[in-house]
């Protein structure tokens, strides 16, 4: 049944998972608040492999529920965030991670904006410098004299 979700593509202007438009609402009991927060962060960061574009916490597709349950159990088992993300990417690839890992393939993605920003600021700096230099500043004394001469000679 759930496969059919991929066949339908409803249109809306903003956010929604394809057929199950309800965000998932479930109850998980944690030992402490930091576990709860880790659970929220992980299910926000990992992508539902079945939906068009939503994270685990925003989808009530069955596989999203399964994966949330998996995260929950692994958190209770005391596994770290890195271990849980590794577990997921081993099975579903980098596709499941909304935070793409930094490697040669994503270098431009992560550092492109910074490089562009620095390049832009550098260009502005040089333009400002040049513009100052080019400024037809006040005429020098000698130039003024020359101008006066020219004007005088015309008379």
């Amino acid at each position: 049944m759930r496969k059919l979700f991929l066949l339908f593509s409803f249109f809306s202007f903003f956010w929604a998972c394809v057929l199950p438009v309800n965000a998932a609402i479930e109850v998980y009991q944690f030992d402490n608040d930091s576990q709860q927060e880790r659970f929220n962060n992980l299910s926000d960061q990992l992508r539902c492999p079945m939906c068009l574009n939503s994270n685990l916490s925003g989808s009530d597709a069955p596989i999203a529920a399964d994966l949330r349950a998996e995260i929950y159990e692994q958190i209770l088992d005391g596994r770290s965030n890195e271990q849980i993300i590794d577990f997921m990417t081993q099975r579903y690839g980098d596709f499941i991670n909304y935070r793409p890992p930094l490697n040669s393939g994503t270098f431009v993605l992560w550092f492109g904006p910074l490089i562009l920003l620095l390049a832009g600021l550098l260009i502005i700096w040089r333009m400002g410098k040049n513009s100052q230099k080019l400024t037809p500043s006040e005429l020098t004394v000698a130039e003024q004299q020359k101008l006066n001469d020219i004007l005088a000679s015309k008379k």
Binding site: S9, F10, F11, S12, F13, F14, W15, A16, C17, V18, L19, P20, V21, N22, A23, A24, I25, E26, V27, Y28, N40, D44, Q45, R47, C51, L52, N53, S54, N55, S57, G58, G93, D94, F95, I96, N97, Y98, R99, P100, G105, T106, V108, L109, W110, G112, P113, L116, L117, G120, L121, I124, W125, M127, G128, K129, S131, Q132, L134, T135, P136
Partner: protein, 671 residues
């Protein structure tokens, strides 16, 4: 008969648009006044036929004419009338019709408010808009006519509008968004007309500014409405997901913001002209990219229309022709454009350029993040797909916005040509001390914790607000009374300050909501309660309610504040009859300083329900900021100097007096 009339009107509009491309442009080239002056009646003719066509589709919807395929797919006899009307733009074909109607309206508006525009410029502008009209009308007539009939079996009833769209949001969000998107076509057309005529001067910038402001204000509201709609409709309490379709609406806004600032420099100082033209082209190009991404299904988005690569090909062709030729024209004409004025590193010119750099880099980052899955796949093959989502965008985008907020404060005090460093330091040090003091002390006292990212955001918000306040104070201090001083300031100055204030408001909203929201998913039986802060939520139970075209489980949640009864929230879970789709309706108490958000989940066997309860501080401020920004944009348009030619000189003098610009009017100094 009516749908055929609509179809026929589309064809007539197409014919007139074709004429509008050719005749006024030929007139402008051969200097034939009559041919040029035809652009006005042509644009009104196109507009009239587009309105007729749109009215025909609306009529078909309101009268349940299910023999029209598009109506049958997007409506149902049980659908309330207001949604039947909004369903006109609920699918690909109809929303394209709205897109073209709005494009025709903008070009009609240009012809109406063009009294002081030279005829040859108007002719070129409308001719360029005609090209876009022709492209999209052809697209609609060939592949996406909303008037197509189902020839054989007319269905007895329609399959209904997607329940997700049966909401007030559908009525207001798309028109505003499209007004914004499509509105950038005016700035685009002015840019192309200026490149064609070779008159890229301060006058061009002045004509373009109000149109850009208007489009930008619409887009600000449109994006805010979409975000707000997602927030209350989808039951997840989020308001932005960096989905490709959200991003493509955001990119024109970012570039449009850059354009507004760069136009100010070009108008006042006559510099950066070729850069400004490029931004004008880019803003509309990104709008077209948006249309492509939403309608081609090239990227995985939750909002895409039904995937159809054929439509994608047509749109790609339109983009190639419209954007490709304008960038070619740019490459040929722009190098000849010379800026003459000089400026220093601390001038307002350079600070506005820094604003432009930050905004353009932000746009580039959003574009890169949106398209990167494609780039990655093109290089590494489809077995290695990556996902780019909120963690990436937030990491890149948030620091850039911080930088922008900082530059905004500095820019407020800057002067054209040259700002004395001593003066800047003197002004900014006071603002800095005040914003640091307020920005650190208030969050620490209120939350009794030291959260560095919250403090940075609050300091920046105060930095903006205090800069504005100090600047207004400076500009009024030489007048006899404060209020006389306030009256002397120009509307465009107020517009600027309102928009900047809006940015501070949005920064606060985004930061405080993200950090201090309390989100609980709890299981409650009737009588159970959950407490967040000084609010206690008592779950009274769930009852079955009948709606017009759905039935709903409606929960009643009584909220106590400090033990006193405060409000009753009624989140619903609806089952729509026609589509059998389930849809949540959040129960929200909207407040200036916090929202109480409740959504209903599933029933558990023992009569208890899973309920989502959120406490979201300052969430309203996100959209409030956008309203301030849009209001600022509108204020700036109403400034006298845009109104007529005769008052130009006078208002310029006024604006110099009022201090909205410290440069002398440079219009005459151009060209």
């Amino acid at each position: 008969m009516i749908p055929e009339l609509g179809s026929f009107s589309l064809i007539l509009a197409f014919c007139l648009a074709s004429l509008m491309v050719v005749i006024p442009m030929a007139g402008a080239i051969t200097n034939n006044q009559l041919w040029m002056s035809l652009c006005r009646p042509l644009s009104s003719g196109i507009w009239v036929f587009m309105v007729i066509s749109f009215a025909c589709l609306a009529y078909a919807f309101l009268n349940d004419d299910f023999s029209v395929n598009y109506v049958a797919r997007n409506s149902n006899s049980l659908l309330p009338d207001r949604y039947k009307f909004a369903a006109v733009w609920g699918g690909h074909e109809g929303s394209l019709l709205l897109w073209v109607l709005i494009l025709a309206s903008w070009s009609y508006a240009v012809s109406l408010f063009s009294k002081n525009l030279p005829l040859d410029i108007l002719a070129r502008v409308l001719s360029v808009m005609g090209i876009i009209l022709v492209g999209f009308l052809l697209f609609m007539l060939l592949t996406s006519s909303p008037f197509e009939r189902t020839l054989l079996n007319t269905p007895l009833d329609g399959t209904d509008l997607n329940p997700l769209l049966q909401d007030f949001g559908l009525i207001v969000h798309p028109p505003f968004l499209y007004m914004g998107y499509v509105g950038f076509s005016v700035a685009f057309a002015f840019a192309i007309a200026a490149l064609l005529s070779g008159r890229l001067d301060a006058a061009w910038a002045r004509w373009t500014r109000p149109w850009t402001n208007a489009a930008w204000a619409f887009l600000s509201i449109g994006i805010a409405l979409g975000s707000w709609w997602a927030y209350y409709e989808l039951g997840w309490g989020g308001w932005w997901f960096w989905d490709p379709v959200e991003n493509v609406s955001f990119m024109p806004w970012l570039v449009g913001t850059a354009l507004i600032h760069s136009l100010a420099v070009t108008e006042k100082r006559g510099v950066f002209k070729s850069w400004t033209v490029l931004l004008a082209i880019a803003a509309f190009s990104l709008s077209l990219l948006g249309a492509f991404i939403v309608r081609s299904g090239v990227l995985t988005s939750v909002h895409a229309f039904a995937v159809d690569p054929a439509r994608g090909m047509v749109l790609l062709t339109i983009m190639l022709i419209v954007i490709g030729s304008s960038l070619l024209l740019y490459a040929i004409r722009a190098p000849a454009v010379k800026g003459s004025a000089s400026y220093t590193l601390t001038s307002r010119e350079v600070l506005l350029l820094i604003n432009n750099i930050i905004l353009v880099v932000s746009t580039a980052a959003v574009l890169l993040g949106t398209l990167y899955p494609l780039i990655h796949e093109a290089i590494y093959g489809e077995a290695n797909r990556v996902s780019i989502g909120p963690p990436y965008f937030n990491t890149i985008f948030v620091p850039l916005m911080g930088l922008l907020a900082f530059a905004l404060g500095v820019g407020t005090f800057s002067r054209w040509k040259k700002t004395s460093v001593v003066y800047l330091k003197q002004q900014l040090s006071k603002v800095l001390i005040a914003s640091l003091a307020f920005g650190i002390v208030i969050p620490v006292i209120v939350t009794s914790e030291f959260n560095i990212s919250v403090i940075v955001a609050v300091v920046l918000a105060f930095w903006i607000v205090f800069s504005i306040a100090k600047d207004i104070f400076n500009k009024t201090s030489n007048k006899e009374t404060f209020f006389k001083g306030l009256k002397a300031l120009s509307l465009s100055y107020y517009g600027m300050q309102f928009a900047h204030f809006g940015m501070a408001v949005t920064i606060l909203g985004v930061c405080l909501t993200s950090h201090y929201s309390v989100e609980r998913d709890v299981r409650l039986a009737p009588g159970d309660s959950e407490t967040i802060g000084n609010y206690e939520f008592i779950f009274e139970g769930v009852s079955l309610q009948q709606g017009a075209n759905y039935q709903a489980d409606r929960a009643v949640i009584t909220v106590l504040r400090n033990g006193d009864e405060y409000i009753t929230l009624e989140p619903e879970k609806r089952l729509y009859y026609a589509t059998q789709a389930i849809q949540t309706e959040a129960g929200i108490d909207v407040g200036l300083f916090r929202d109480l958000f409740t959504a209903l989940g599933d029933e558990r066997g023992d009569g208890s329900w899973v309920v989502r309860i959120h406490y979201k501080p300052f969430v309203l401020w996100i959209w409030l900021g956008a309203i301030f920004m849009a209001f600022g944009g509108v204020l700036a348009i109403t400034d006298k100097r845009y109104r007529s030619k005769k008052t130009v000189k006078q208002s310029q003098n006024e604006s110099v007096l009022s201090g909205s610009s410290s440069s002398k009017p440079t219009m005459a100094a151009e060209s």
